[in-house]
């Protein structure tokens, strides 16, 4: 990193560092402040954990290849923020460096902890040799032709599903799913109640998963209790009682 980049990075705005009243509320553990901090930095942390990074341990260099599955990242993000929101971690933040840097340090430490504890399957780490030591490059980034064709097929099916969506659900869909606004925002924008928007979302999800099931995407997916299985259990119980 050259000097110019360093100065530029230092000058970038940081929500927590540059807002003293928010920083005070954050240090006190005020929930509104914690929520603000979470939604400010979460997306960057997701990207950081997906991309991966290199680290140095016991005199050797390693690369953490990033999390591949969404549930791994979601779990890691909640764990990292739980550590970052602990009282001692909140007090330990100096309020001088960007908070993002502080958060990423916690993330790195978590990955290194898991690596040292040798939890197999939890993280994908490889050792770096002298040649690729200088810069971390993630493995397996490009998609295979099969994956690309699968993506295209899925895109088509989503398009087909959206064409059949009722107009009121379609408006909600645009705001909530495409624009990515919160349920509260969607309720305000559409002048609907919180309950109604929640129901809209559940309806879309249910219809979509059922549609995908009809396209053969899920084997054995069902929203309702399986009647046949219940019947079998009931028959077995009755049989057991009378034999």
């Amino acid at each position: 990193m050259n000097r110019y980049t360093a100065v530029k990075r230092m000058n970038q705005m940081d929500l927590l560092r540059d807002n003293r009243s928010l920083l005070d509320a954050f240090r006190r553990g005020d929930e509104v402040a914690l929520r603000q901090v979470y939604f400010e930095y979460a997306e960057a942390l997701f990207a950081f954990l997906k991309k991966g990074f290199s680290f140095h341990s016991r005199g050797r260099n390693f690369a953490f290849n990033g999390y591949q599955a969404s549930w791994q990242i979601e779990d890691a993000v909640q764990d990292i923020f739980m550590r970052a929101f602990k009282d001692e971690a909140r007090q330990a933040y100096d309020g001088l460096r960007p908070y993002k840097t502080y958060l990423f340090t916690i993330a790195r430490n978590r990955v290194m902890d898991l690596f040292r504890k040798e939890k197999p399957g939890r993280i994908d780490v490889r050792e770096l040799n002298e040649v690729d030591d200088s810069e971390f490059v993630k493995d397996g980034e490009a998609k295979t032709p099969e994956q690309l064709s699968g993506d295209r097929e899925l895109e088509e099916q989503v398009k087909q599903f959206l064409e059949g969506l009722a107009p009121d659900l379609n408006t909600f869909f645009q705001i909530r799913f495409v624009e990515g606004r919160s349920l509260e925002d969607a309720a305000i924008a559409l002048k609907l109640t919180d309950y109604r928007v929640k129901r809209h979302e559940q309806q879309i999800r249910k219809q979509f998963f059922q549609f995908m099931q009809s396209c053969g995407y899920f084997g054995g997916y069902s929203f309702r209790d399986r009647g046949v299985e219940k019947l079998i259990v009931a028959t077995l119980l009755t049989y057991g009682r009378f034999c």
């Binding site: 979460a42 599955a69 993506d151 989503v158 995407y217």
Partner: protein
Amino acid sequence: MSLSHSHRRTEKQIRRLFARGLEGRSMVRLWKSLHECPSCAKIYERYSVLESALAGRGGTVSHFSVERAGQAIFGQLNEGAQQRRVRVIKWLAPVAGAVAATLVLLLLLPAHPASHRVDLSEVRITGMQQLAARGESRKSASYVGFRVFTVNTGDDGIGEKSRLDIGDTITFTYTYAKKEKGYMMLFGLQENVAKPLWYYPDYGKKRSISVAGDRVDEPLGDGIRLAVNHQEGPLRILSLFSKTPIQVNDVERAVLELRQTGQMLDVNKPLPLKISNIEVTEYSLLFNINGTTSVGATK
């Protein structure tokens, strides 16, 4: 994979998570269980890929993932705060003696230790019975209010219920006859429960929920398990309707003041809310858990 891992249960949890969400702690438990079972993890991933594709973000992190992790964090933080309070009480008990400990426990322990809310949208409701107060009179032209129903979610037939039992699940409908959109709060008060038992908004939320105008008996959707957080004995359910949102803190302060008068469960005693410029319509009903519905009143 551990012996305690059940694919069927995990798959059900995954389905529920992607269809309508899970509570914080359950979500974390689900993620931890996926570390142990690659086949369940694959199912989760399929749902996640579909969700991202639906949001038009194939391959990148969807805002739903961010919301989910956030929900898990704040769910745990809220639960943590309650557990800390319980730990303090445990520490105080031997110091202050049995009498003082009993008083402290009565005042502090039952304050919403767990969520009593269940989503009824996917539940097969086999029986619903209204629990309305007897002799209740309403002016149909301009009233606001709510009704309480018990829900029978079991599979073994309909049980007509004439009273509220601790094992019941209740659900609500609201009526808001005014033309424009309004805001509502609905909560329960019990003698030995320190804070209001929040139904709407849910615990952790700061203000009233919005309700559509010109509605009669509009269902609110969730079921409330009385076995969680509630105790046997009188339960006053109180609703507050307003044109602008009311803050939860203001209501909790007013409840504290009302409790000190010793008339908290008197439905004719209004909540001493100290809010200026907001017109609040209050409506409350008194029930007896494990007994019959007793008194109703409209103010």
